[in-house]
Structures are given as structure tokens and as C-alpha cells.
């Protein structure tokens, strides 16, 4: 379920904590597993639990608590836009309308071809750059507008 490469990455995270505190690496381990599988199926979470020596339920608790884990497939490119107040004051609401229309989906939906998923974010801590779009949790795009969106979609599809 987990590749050797993923396990090596998890080992690097485990090294940050005392040897008897392997559970501290669970958030990183889930992130690494999600990067590999796109979403956290029960099997993937069980593999993480086994690797860290944790009860599976403790891993599910973490995966369901934090917002950036995908508990269902969210498309090849999950797009999250922050719509919180500071961003809303700077065009995020309008940008989301553009994005929804362009992709033909609403929040928490995935396009029929499985390419794009859309999520509404809470606060990214980047309010000065609004509107802000995150691709697959890790790639942040600031000051978004329609033109930048077209360029980004083209790049992601290729």
C-alpha cells in the first residue's frame, strides 16, 4: 500500500520525534500517503497505522479532524479557495463564481472527467494575497483572476 519512497519520507519525519513517540509523525505520514494515492481510503489509513504502530482508530481520528486530508477522491487537481472575510472583501467570492462556472461544478464536487475538484477553504494565512487558490494543498496561487485561472488550468491539464 505504501511505496518504499513514501516509507523513507515517513522515516525522515519520525526522526524528528523521540523514539517512543512515533504517533507524532502521523500527520506527516498521512500527508505523504495522500500525495501518493490522491485520497485516504481505509486501506491507506490502515497501512499508515501499521507502519507507525498505532491503533487504526487513532489514525482515522486524525484524518477526519484536519481539513486538508481527502476522505474521498477530490480529482487529480483539488482546488481550494479561501472565502473567509478578508478574502471575500478582496474578490474571493466573485472569483469562486468564475471558477464554479468555468469548471461546471459546485464546492465539494469533482468534474466528470475526474480532473478537478473544488473546495471552499477557511483561512490560509495569506489574506494579503486574496484571492488565493491552493492546488492539491501544496501549490499556492496568489492574486487570482480569470486570466490567471485560464493559464493555470491550461498548465494543469497538460
Amino acid at each position: 500500500m505504501l511505496s518504499e519512497q513514501a516509507k523513507r519520507k515517513m522515516d525522515a519525519e519520525l526522526a524528528k520525534y523521540p523514539a517512543d513517540r512515533r504517533q507524532s509523525a502521523v500527520m506527516s505520514a498521512l500527508r505523504i500517503a495522500q500525495d501518493e494515492h490522491d485520497w485516504l481510503s481505509r486501506e491507506v489509513m490502515d497501512a499508515v497505522a501499521a507502519y507507525l504502530g498505532m491503533p487504526a482508530i487513532a489514525v482515522y481520528e486524525v484524518a477526519t479532524f484536519y481539513e486538508m486530508y481527502n476522505l474521498k477522491p477530490m480529482g487529480r487537481h483539488k482546488m481550494t479557495v479561501c472565502t473567509n472575510l478578508p478574502c471575500a472583501l478582496s474578490g474571493a467570492t466573485e472569483f469562486c463564481e468564475t471558477l464554479k462556472k468555468r469548471l461546471g461544478i459546485d464546492f465539494n464536487e469533482v468534474t466528470a472527467d475526474g480532473e478537478f475538484g473544488l473546495k471552499e477553504g477557511q483561512c490560509f494565512g495569506a489574506c494579503g494575497d486574496a484571492p488565493v487558490l491552493l492546488v492539491n494543498n501544496h501549490q499556492m496561487h496568489s492574486f487570482m483572476d480569470e486570466e490567471k485561472l485560464e493559464a493555470l488550468l491550461k498548465e494543469l491539464k497538460s
Binding site: 472575510l85 472583501l89 494579503g128 494543498n137 501549490q139
Partner: protein, 429 residues
Amino acid sequence: MTQVILGGLDGNRTWRLADYVARGGYEALRKALSGMTPEQVIEEVKKSSLRGRGGAGFPTGLKWTFMPRNYSGDKYVVCNSDEGEPGTFKDRDILRYNPHALIEGMILAGYAMGATRGYNYIHGEIWSVYERCEEAVQEARDAGFLGQNILGSEFSFDLFNHHGYGAYICGEETALLESLEGKKGQPRYKPPFPATYGLYGKPTTINNTETFASVPWIIRHGGQAFLELGKPNNGGTKIFSVSGHVSRPGNYEVPLGTPFAKLLEMAGGVRGGRKIKAVIPGGSSMPVLPGDVMMQLDMDYDSISKAGSMLGSGAVIVMDETTCMVRALERLSWFYHEESCGQCTPCREGTGWLYRVIHRMEHGQGRAEDLDLLLSLSDNIQGRTICALGDAAAMPVRSFVNHFRAEFEHHVTHKRCLVEGSARQEKVA
């Protein structure tokens, strides 16, 4: 004008160790390790009047004295870089443009409190910043600023970055500790406080990124010099994140006590030359103030507090005359409802209730009794929960209703918005 943290930086070009050293970086660490006792380091921080930059404004030097001195096991220092208070985006800039200021600050804190390990808990959504911090820590380790017998002294300390994955509540210090231990981020009861029972049950001190990053300057130039940058009881400079309806949103590091009008001017003034209506001066959890009140205030802990709000994290959210206050509050209330960890009933149930009532007001279905209901709900949340998230959800509601009551009443009576002409007619959730 002196800038303690953002001074002398050139964006992405000057974050590396060599640049930091060229700016005088790690001199404070040399000074402390070669000629100051841990007590003297704490004494300087006390003298500086540095107050917690994450939101609570607690005196940092005093907090550091809470750590037990003669403790034989591990002690920890933890940096709260889980910056997710709507409106706040200063720690992101510190971490990506000046990461070594934080690292040096944490090492100094470790020395002052006798801690051997530090963790820097980084907000989930800023992945590239986490990667940069990983690089910076490695640079510091390679240069001998982290590890065994730092700079040939008896002091050993190591530091690690921990990446969050999306939970506002982990900005609460005990929730952050739970999260570091690999659990759901649910706040702990206090007492015991982290200085007694913290990470893995060991004595732990948690400070905000900006707080730690201020410490090297204080040790280099002295606590008195830092205090004099600001004003009594409000020492130093502060980074204000200005967002919303301004022409140049961004981070501005200015002396505490700077007039709000000047800060607004630095941010380019209100966008489109419109009139200012309201400002949340310290992050979304703090009470909103009317624009004309703000225009008379200075940006420091005591002035803002006297006016009935709080300086909080220094996140200044500016709203102009076109803003519908009901709609603004609706979005904030949804945030607190989403981010409630679910542990305490008043918060778990109350935040959802608040949101639903504001939502129906915004959508033209408000009832005559709803304003009183909102205030009563707020009363029944505030002060009745384990952590401050409940208060954070209640305080905006109370202040929005108090200062802009007519707007809320208009929504209820006329089923439409005073500002935009008509309420949204979507289906009520």
C-alpha cells in the same frame, strides 16, 4: 525607522543563513552563550516589555519564568506558526523571508529556559514555507547553531519543523500540543499549564513566531532599546497585517503606538477612495470598531483595549461603506462553526446556532426576536468553554450587533439589506 524583524530584507533573495549573518544574525546567540546567564536573558526580555504577538499579549519574559528551573528531564520550547486567524498573515512572511530570526529566537529561548528541543508548528496551507523552514533549520544545524555544544558552549539544543494540515483550533496552544503528539487538536483543560505539563507531559513554553523572532534583536541591543521603540508597557515594533478594502494590503512593521490613520495611509488608504466603515483591529476574533473610532486610535495593546477591542494578532481588517455587516458576520460565524473542535457543548452547538440565525437574517428570513437571541447565545457561549474559541465566536457577534444594530434590524424588518439594496434570496440552510 527601526524594524526589528522585517528590516533590511529583500523578499525571497535574502532569507539564507549567509544573508542573516551579514545582517548581524546569530550575534545575539554568541553574546548570550559567551557572557550571559539564562536568568540574564530572561531579565532582558522582561525589560523589553515584549508581549505575546500571537493574540493574547501576555508578557513574554514573565511567561518564561513559569518554566521549572531545576527539572532533570526534557523541556521543550514550541513555536506557534499555525497562523490561521482570519486577517493574519505576518508569520508567513517572517518564516519565508527571515526564518533564521525565528530559529535564533528559539535557540535563545531554549537557553533561557533550559530546554533541549524545540518544535516549530507550521500552518498547513503554506507548504512552500514549511519547505523553506526545513532548509533553514538544516543550514543552522550545518553551521553549528543547532545540535550538541552550540558554539563550543555547554548548551545543546535541536529544532524541528512540524507541518499542520488544516485546523484553526491548533493555534490554541494546548490543542497545538495535542496535534504535535499526533492526535486530534482538542484543547486541554488548564491548569495544569504547559509550563508544568506540556508536550509529552513535559514542561513546555509556547510562543508565537513574531514573539520568538523579536528576541535576537532584544538580546543584541538590550531590552531597554526595544522598549523605547514602542511605548511603556507596549515595547517594540509590531507587524500589522492589513487586509480587506485597502489599496495595498500587506504587512507593515511599525512602532507600537503608531496612529491607525498612519497605518491606513501606509496601506494605500481605503480602496477606490471610499469611506471607511469598520475595522477589526486584531484578527477576526476581536470586537469590530466603527471606522471613525479607529481613525482616532493608536495601534498598541492598551489604546485598542481602552476602545473596547483588542490588538490581538495585529491583523487589521478594513471594511468600507459598501460592506454589509450582516453578510460579513455571517461568513465569520460560519468559520467558527466549522472550526469548533466539538469538545464543549456551548461552542459546538452554539456556534452552529449563531451561524444559522445570522444566515437567515442575511437571507431575508430574520425574525423580530433574532437580535436578542444572538446576544443571549453569545452570553451562553462566552466563558463557558475549555478554550477561547467560544469567546472568539461570541465577541464578533456582540460587537457587530452593538455597533451596527440598525443594519441588523433593517435586515429583519425589511427583509433586505441596507447597503446592497436587497438580501440574497437563496434558500436558507
